[in-house]
Homo-oligomer: 367 residues x 2
Amino acid sequence: MLLNGQPSRTLWPAAAQDAVTVLDQRALPHRIESVVLHTVDDAVHAIAEMVVRGAPLIGVTAAYGLALQARVDASDAALERAASQLKSTRPTAVNLAWAVDRMLAQLLQRKPMDREATAWTVAAQLADDDAAVNERLGVHGVTLLRSLAQRTPGRPLNVLTHCNAGWLATVDWGTALSPIYHAQAQGLRVHVWVDETRPRNQGASLTAFELREQGVPHTVIADNAGGHLMQRGQVDAVIVGCDRVTGCGDVANKIGTYLKALAAHDCGVPFWVAMPLSTLDRSLRDGMAEIRIEERSAREVTHLTGRTRDGTTVEVQLVPDGTQACNPAFDVTPARLVTGLITERGVVPATREGIAGLFEERRPGAH
Amino acid sequence: MLLNGQPSRTLWPAAAQDAVTVLDQRALPHRIESVVLHTVDDAVHAIAEMVVRGAPLIGVTAAYGLALQARVDASDAALERAASQLKSTRPTAVNLAWAVDRMLAQLLQRKPMDREATAWTVAAQLADDDAAVNERLGVHGVTLLRSLAQRTPGRPLNVLTHCNAGWLATVDWGTALSPIYHAQAQGLRVHVWVDETRPRNQGASLTAFELREQGVPHTVIADNAGGHLMQRGQVDAVIVGCDRVTGCGDVANKIGTYLKALAAHDCGVPFWVAMPLSTLDRSLRDGMAEIRIEERSAREVTHLTGRTRDGTTVEVQLVPDGTQACNPAFDVTPARLVTGLITERGVVPATREGIAGLFEERRPGAH
């Protein structure tokens, strides 16, 4: 997608295959900066500290982390240690483990001397696959928007999204925002309600930033406002991304997603989840009982970083001294509240049958 | 309630009856400051700029605003102009119009020369009544908490609240927090989940501040987190305040309340609204259609004030330059999601019949 008017991805491997540059998402929206990862430890740090974030992007970054490891020591033990280190950074998004396990399986099949070259090839393939999958999500998702837009002639379609499941959460295109970008390319008028997404404000900082870069009309709202807008008919659809989806269609996604799903259900607004198949964890049946929810630092709630009038970036404290906070980073939206899953193979119901249909030779549930 | 360990109210008329001092709620939690109101324009400004806020407190502040007007010109025209100016500051909370109309009716009955003295007496009575009413809310509300606590022996009762409906939103005691303070006084262990309440962060700044001052255990959470905590059984009850309640029990309250009510309903958690009768607007039947929702400045969403490490208070920008925002300040929770209304006359169902029962000679619905 566009960054300063130029096509860009969120990460770029060096031609010499000795480093990977990533866009530093902590500096956005106020500064465009990048960070160069030279070692697997750099990759672990980038994921844990959310220099990169978003389920698909942390998967691809971890794959490159393994490639960086293969450069210096491609033994079974070193790769397995690096894989386990990478997987332990963030527990909720399944794409991370999915990408690392795929890489590891392919590398361990090969002789150690061939592993470095293979690692860079496979990581690059995962990155390209992510972009291609997300483009397909957009192709399928935009058909849903087109059909809704027939009911709202003469005004833009209003789509609400939570957190950032856009280009910046992936290698390219985004998941939840890919249908929006496809709509824009097709001349379908769309306006996006952007949940600011406390506590880390990925909506206010990242989604607003990337929509502005692509020229998509949007309005930032407090996370509290979405239900009210739905009650008043000002939201035509909700589209969110996801970090792990069970075989029954329960969706782990950024904290607060469940509240928006409840409001959409109460107000008769379609609630779609953009789900690359890499985010599916068919080993799980019960999202509430089985998905581990990452608990992050209380400081993300009690403090916040922004830009002062003179252009410097500062951290400010929001609460009285000594105040405790609690910071679960994800929640689980039960499948009963999800209208459908937008995947690279089509849109299916968030049910065991709908999901199983994605893996059949002919997929009756998909369109 | 306690401020720096000393009993205090949120506003204090001067003994000379020529000014009113109010606690400046914009400076909290980082600084304890007050503002002296000398004229009705000062009172209008204090309400509009949220130096004082909270439905009961803006009502009493407006009453004192009329008293300040009566000092300089107690003619019908001057009082009516001041009343209309005060009532136009904030449209959603009905207590404001209720207090101003009560004052005006009493003043216009009297001769202009008697009006000034009457005004100060009536305003003081409204302030005392507010404190007394809120104390009664606590007496009735704590019986609900006691009965819930029987089901959770051996651990504190977890109560979630949204925004600030505590002491700082009233003259004394608070509405939603009054049952908490009564529980504390009775030795019932309570822990409060404090929604930070974007965009103005009344929870993180005011509720956390006043709970700390009274020594009540509490934890601040992002507004997004409450649904997740309810899903996991970590919330035993929700208690919120209100700004206007219809005769059918629909509740206008701080933006985001509706989302918490949906989650409470979905998770089987009781959702109570602390409602002094002054917040009831029996002229309305349909909250969604009839209650006017105040739209506030976009800047409250795009910018935020906090304290830097060196102790200064600064405003920071959260979004990319040029980002639009939308800021509805209240939403309407339909009566079907409200477990009960806690009033000074008892707890009643949020139904036409329940509310009517409050005004019968014998009140079968109340306890």
